[in-house]
Structures are given as structure tokens and as C-alpha cells.
């Protein structure tokens, strides 16, 4: 139960930079998710918090305590590894008891703690089994059990549910979140799955190529991505991007693409002007913020042709071609179009994102 402060941290492997000038403050009892594609430096960051990697430059504090030079065993952390890293020759009970045994806790207390954790994770009946006799989900629970028995200051999760099947993964997301709330322990959770970040975290830190892109609540990240990378990485299906030209000025700018002319709101236009946007920009729009209508006389901004439709059960994913580009639309529609059918697309202009084409930074 402590805050974690990452201050100006850099990480190098030889000459290769893994993490660049990272500043994050994880608040007390917060569930923070480090999100990014593989190789973005999120795991290196986590391992630096654990003490498994040295910090090339910068400082890490647990509360007020600088931990740079403290070995893992003295940091009072618990880590859950991607491949669980269970001790294969030990039973579930012994695996979970190991950290307590190393603390020289007495046997009855150990047993009490392990059983408590096992009950919480619903693996009591597995305590005498060896890891080889466990399913993926059970192994994962054991690994979590090993982490929670000792009530550490900080939980570190390194993609703990990446190897479970889809159904179990969604179940575990809920459980992990519940567990963290119940134990009230500061948690840093590394994942490449944006869904995990969105559903579990209090705040998400999106990383890319060693650089922190954005730190914010899931809502902020989703609704106000600061740049094209964050916008494209978060959200499923991913955001549509279109290269557009700005026409007009002042309060009445509009985005032009092919035969489309999308009028912007007054405030949006002003932002573009005050921030000095170039003529050429990139429009970003989420599939949820598009509406579609079949037929030719739709009266909507955009005329397109259906490329393919993918029913998801409730919603429908429609990919539609227009001009050189293809857009994904996520809607509930009654009418199933055939590939090649004409359709019209409407844009919810309040949910538009406009990015600088060179730097990828968002204007709004």
C-alpha cells in the first residue's frame, strides 16, 4: 500500500534504448495499466519496478523510499509472470507458501495465509497438486495466489492472462479487478491488449517505442487520444483514418476528401486555426461514430460501396469502400447489404479527431 513514482527513468540495453524519460506516478491503491505493443518498453518498466532490471538513469520511489539500489527480495513486491513461473516440483500449496517461507513465517501462519488466498481464488481443492496437473487458468490463479499471500506493497503483473483462452480471459479480467479492489493494493499491470487496459485499469499509460504517449483514465484515453498512435491503438475495431484537406477558415472550416465535404463546428474550426494546423491533416473517426444507410438516395455526407459485412451477433461490422480508402462502421442495422451495394455514411461530427499528418499529434 504505497504510491510508486517513476521519475525521469531511462533504460538502455547496451546502446538500444528501451525506455525514454519516463515519468509516471502511480497513486496509492491505484490500478495502473501499462499498455502498448510489444517492444514498447512496458515490460522493461515493470521489471525495473521489480528490481529485475537496473535503471539506466532516473529514480523510482515506493512512497518516499528510493528503491533504485534495493534488490527485488527487499522491495516488498509481488510479481505475476507471463508464463506463471511456478516452481514445477512444488505443489500449489508449496508454491504459494514459498514467499512466506522465505520470510521465515511460522508454519501455522503460513497455512492460514495460503488457505485464505486459495479460498479467495477458489483453488482450495487444488492445493496438493503439482503445476503439471493444472490447467492454464488454475496455474494462473496459483501464480496470483503466490503474489497475494504476502500482502506486498505493490503488485506487478506482466501480461498474466495473455495465454488463457478468450472466454477465460474475459472472466479473469473481472476477477482480477475485483481482487485488486478488495485487497486495496497498488497495482501495475502490463498488457498489450487494449481491452484489458480499458476494462480493468483506473488509469492507463500508453507507451510506444519507449516513450509514454498518454496517461489518463480509460475514458480520457478513448475519447481524447493525444495522438494518432493512441487513437489507433485503443479501441476495437480500430479508428478509421482519412487524409483530408482543410478548406475555409475562421469559424467555418471544413474537411474535404474526394467528394466529401465535412463541415466542422465553430469551436473545432477555431482550434485548428489557433493551433496553426497545416492544410493537410488526418481525420480520425471511430467505427461507432459512423452511421450507415443502404441504397443510393440516403442523403448522407458520404457515398460508398459495401466491401464486406461481418455480423457480430448484435452489432454489425461493415467495411465500405469510397475513393481510395476503406472504412469500418460498427452499427446495429436490420438490412444486410451485399458486397458492391451502394450505401451512405454519416459522420458524427462531434466525435471527430483531427491529427497533424507529420507529428501525429491531435488537434482535438
Amino acid at each position: 500500500m504505497t504510491s510508486v513514482t517513476i521519475k525521469d527513468v531511462w533504460k538502455y540495453y547496451g546502446k538500444t534504448m528501451a525506455v525514454k524519460e519516463l515519468n509516471i506516478e502511480v497513486r496509492d491503491n491505484e490500478f495502473l495499466c501499462l499498455l502498448g505493443p510489444s517492444g514498447c518498453g512496458k515490460s522493461s518498466t515493470l521489471r525495473m519496478l521489480a528490481g529485475l532490471e537496473f535503471i539506466s538513469s532516473g529514480e523510482v520511489f515506493f512512497g518516499d523510499l528510493k528503491v533504485n539500489d534495493i534488490p527485488p527480495r527487499d522491495r516488498d513486491i509481488a510479481m505475476v509472470f507471463e508464463n506463471y513461473a511456478l516452481y514445477p516440483h512444488k505443489t500449489v500449496f508449496e508454491n504459494m507458501a514459498n514467499p512466506l517461507k522465505l520470510q521465515r513465517m511460522n508454519k501455522t501462519d503460513i497455512k492460514e495465509r495460503v488457505v485464505w488466498a486459495a479460498q479467495m481464488l477458489e483453488i482450495e481443492e487444488l492445493l496438493q497438486r503439482k503445476p503439471v496437473e493444472l490447467s492454464g487458468g488454475q496455474k494462473q490463479r496459483t501464480a496470483i495466489g503466490r503474489a497475494i499471500v504476502r500482502e506486498p506493497k505493490v503488485f506487478l503483473f506482466d501480461e498474466p492472462i495473455a495465454h488463457l483462452d478468450a472466454k477465460l480471459r474475459s472472466h479473469m479480467r473481472g476477477e482480477l479487478k475485483h481482487l485488486q479492489r478488495r485487497l486495496e493494493t497498488t497495482t501495475v499491470y502490463v498488457t498489450h491488449d487494449q481491452l484489458e487496459g480499458m476494462t480493468m485499469a483506473d488509469r492507463i499509460a500508453v507507451m510506444h517505442e519507449g516513450v509514454l504517449q498518454q496517461l489518463g483514465t480509460p475514458g480520457e484515453i478513448y475519447n481524447h487520444p493525444v495522438n494518432e498512435f493512441v487513437a489507433g491503438f485503443v479501441g476495437e475495431p480500430p479508428m478509421n483514418f482519412l487524409d483530408c484537406r482543410i478548406e475555409g477558415a475562421g469559424d467555418s472550416a471544413s474537411l474535404v476528401y474526394d467528394n466529401m465535404n465535412l463541415a466542422l463546428g465553430g469551436e473545432q474550426s477555431r482550434i485548428l486555426e489557433t493551433k496553426g494546423a497545416a492544410r493537410e491533416v488526418r481525420l480520425g473517426i471511430r467505427p461507432d461514430d459512423l452511421t450507415i444507410e443502404m441504397g443510393t438516395d440516403h442523403g448522407l455526407e458520404l457515398s460508398a460501396k459495401i466491401f464486406v459485412t461481418e455480423p457480430l451477433g448484435g452489432d454489425m461490422l461493415i467495411e465500405a469502400d469510397f475513393g481510395q480508402d476503406r472504412m469500418t462502421i460498427k452499427r446495429k442495422i436490420a438490412e444486410l447489404g451485399q458486397p458492391g451495394d451502394a450505401c451512405g455514411i454519416a459522420v458524427n461530427s462531434e466525435k471527430l479527431h483531427v491529427f497533424d499528418r507529420d507529428t501525429g499529434e491531435a488537434f482535438f
Binding site: 529485475l52 527480495r73 509481488a78 509472470f81 513461473a85 514445477p88
Partner: protein, 292 residues
């Protein structure tokens, strides 16, 4: 080469082929087992029976091979007059001693070589493997000179050390392969659990323990079967079974019965050990290149 699941279609050519295959297997079986059978039976034959052969071309007479009155006299002679009990003890002490020293030091070194990255690591590994590969005759003379000057010739410690020249590089090399297969994550998990380095190492030892055990046995085998080192470094006070067996060849008469019995005594324990570590045998004999 195909697996059992693959469908086979019958044809006359196929049938003829199968007959050939079976014939070949039978011949190969006999070829492999016959010498062993002859060694075993001859060790229980007295002189007359051992030398009985059918006339040339008398194929029906093959039966005389098994027509004998078994006698344990050769074995009794070996262990009473010829002191084979003592030689067996020497063989055991020298090979086991060297195996334990080699695997103990070897596993420490192997762990270090598996975990550490340093300049010259490749050269070090190359040196280790070529030490193992060096022909015994090539290094025998200087080794003898050194051992004689340190008073190790003809002693069991000397023999242990001599066997270590091939067992230690073997153990380092092969156990490094074993440690390489142990993921770092387990040690990292142990460190996070609050273990120190030594405790973390202990945590992965059970993972390599079967291999360590098997390679102790294999080192025993290498030492036990050695002849050149034993006959030169061990000459005098530390006579081992292969040397003692060779000494049964005397100018006047070769005591074939005793030699066969000595062969059985030398070979049978190793065959049992071989069966015991069956799973690791090919790995061991190919320096870890082939895993089953």
C-alpha cells in the same frame, strides 16, 4: 518411416519386401546378441567345453554352443585367486569419485556459463569441448610426467583426477545445455518472492536434478570402461577391472574362461546403469546434441 496412422496398401511386392525386412531384422538381432550370448555362456564353460566347435561346414553342429555343464569356477577364481573384488572396488571408487567431482564442479560451472554473458565465453566453451575430445594417447605422456612428479601415479586419487580430464568437460558442457533450458522466470519469481541468489539457484536445482543424476551415472560409465588411463596412470596401486582383465592374457596361455567371466563382471553392472538412465543416454553420448 511413416507413423502407424499412415494407411498401408497391400500388394505382392509389399509382402516380399516385408519378408526381406523381417529377415534383415532377425540377422541384425542375432548379430547384436550372439557375441553377448557367447561371452555369457563361455564364462560358465570349462576349458574343454569352451573350445568345442562343430566341424567346418557342419551347420547342424551349432548346438554344441549350448551343450555344456555350467561351472562357476571362473568366477570363483576371479574373486579368490585373482583379487577381482579389490579391482572392482578400485574401479568403483575411481569412476564414482571422478563422476561426483566432475558433476559437482561441472554443474556449478555450467550454471554460471548458462547465466553469464562475458567476453571470451565462446572461446572458453570451445576449450572445454576440445579438452573432452582430445585423444587420450596424445595427452597421456605429459600427464604421466606431471602425475609422477606429484606422486599420483598408481594411486586412486591420481586415477580420479585422470578420469576427471574427460568427465569434467563433459559434465560442464552437457549440464550447460540443461541449465539453458531452464527459463529465467523461475529464478526471477524466486527473487521477487524474497529469495537471495543462492536460494534462487536451489529453486531450479530440482528441475535439472534428473539430468544431474543421469550424468553422474554416465561419468561413472566413462571412467569404469577406461583402459588407457587406468593401465598407465593407475599402474601399480590402482588396478581397475579393464586392466585386470587385460592382464589375464599371459604369454603361455590366454585364460579365455576367466577373461569371459571378467568381461561379464565388467559389463553387466554398466548395462544395468545404461538401462537406468536410458532416457538420457543418447543425449549424453552425443554431447547433448541429440535429445530424445
Amino acid at each position: 518411416m511413416a507413423s502407424r496412422e499412415i494407411v498401408r496398401y497391400k500388394s505382392p511386392a509389399r509382402t516380399a519386401f516385408s519378408v526381406l525386412v523381417i529377415l534383415f531384422l532377425i540377422i541384425f538381432f542375432v548379430w547384436t546378441v550372439l557375441p553377448l550370448a557367447i561371452m555369457l555362456t563361455s564364462s560358465f564353460k570349462d576349458l574343454l567345453d569352451a573350445f568345442k566347435l562343430p566341424a567346418e561346414g557342419d551347420w547342424g553342429g551349432v548346438g554344441v554352443m549350448f551343450d555344456f555343464k555350467p561351472t562357476g569356477a571362473h568366477y570363483v577364481e576371479l574373486f579368490t585367486e585373482k583379487h577381482f573384488g579389490e579391482y572392482m572396488r578400485n574401479s568403483l571408487i575411481a569412476s564414482l569419485g571422478s563422476a561426483v567431482v566432475s558433476v559437482f564442479l561441472g554443474s556449478m560451472a555450467a550454471y554460471a556459463l548458462s547465466r553469464a554473458e562475458f567476453r571470451g565465453k565462446k572461446d572458453l566453451l570451445f576449450w572445454i569441448i576440445s579438452t573432452r575430445m582430445a585423444p587420450v594417447v596424445a595427452v597421456m605422456v605429459p600427464l604421466y610426467v606431471i602425475f609422477r612428479s606429484s606422486g599420483l601415479v598408481g594411486t586412486l586419487p591420481g586415477l580420479i583426477l585422470a578420469y576427471t580430464t574427460f568427465n569434467l568437460p563433459f559434465a560442464i558442457w552437457i549440464l550447460k545445455g540443461f541449465f539453458d533450458n531452464v527459463p529465467y522466470a523461475i529464478e526471477e519469481a524466486a527473487l521477487c518472492d524474497g529469495a537471495n541468489r543462492w536460494q534462487a539457484l536451489r529453486m531450479i536445482m530440482p528441475l535439472v536434478a534428473p539430468g544431474v543424476g543421469a550424468f553422474i551415472v554416465l561419468c561413472v560409465l566413462f571412467g569404469w570402461n577406461d583402459f588407457l588411463f587406468a593401465s598407465i596412470i593407475g599402474s601399480g596401486g590402482a588396478k581397475t577391472l579393464p586392466v585386470a582383465t587385460a592382464e589375464l592374457v599371459q604369454p603361455v596361455k590366454i585364460q579365455w574362461g576367466s577373461i569371459m567371466a571378467a568381461g561379464v563382471v565388467t559389463t553387466v553392472p554398466m548395462m544395468f546403469l545404461g538401462l537406468l538412465i536410458r532416457r538420457y543416454l543418447v543425449t549424453g553420448l552425443t554431447m547433448g546434441a541429440v535429445r530424445e
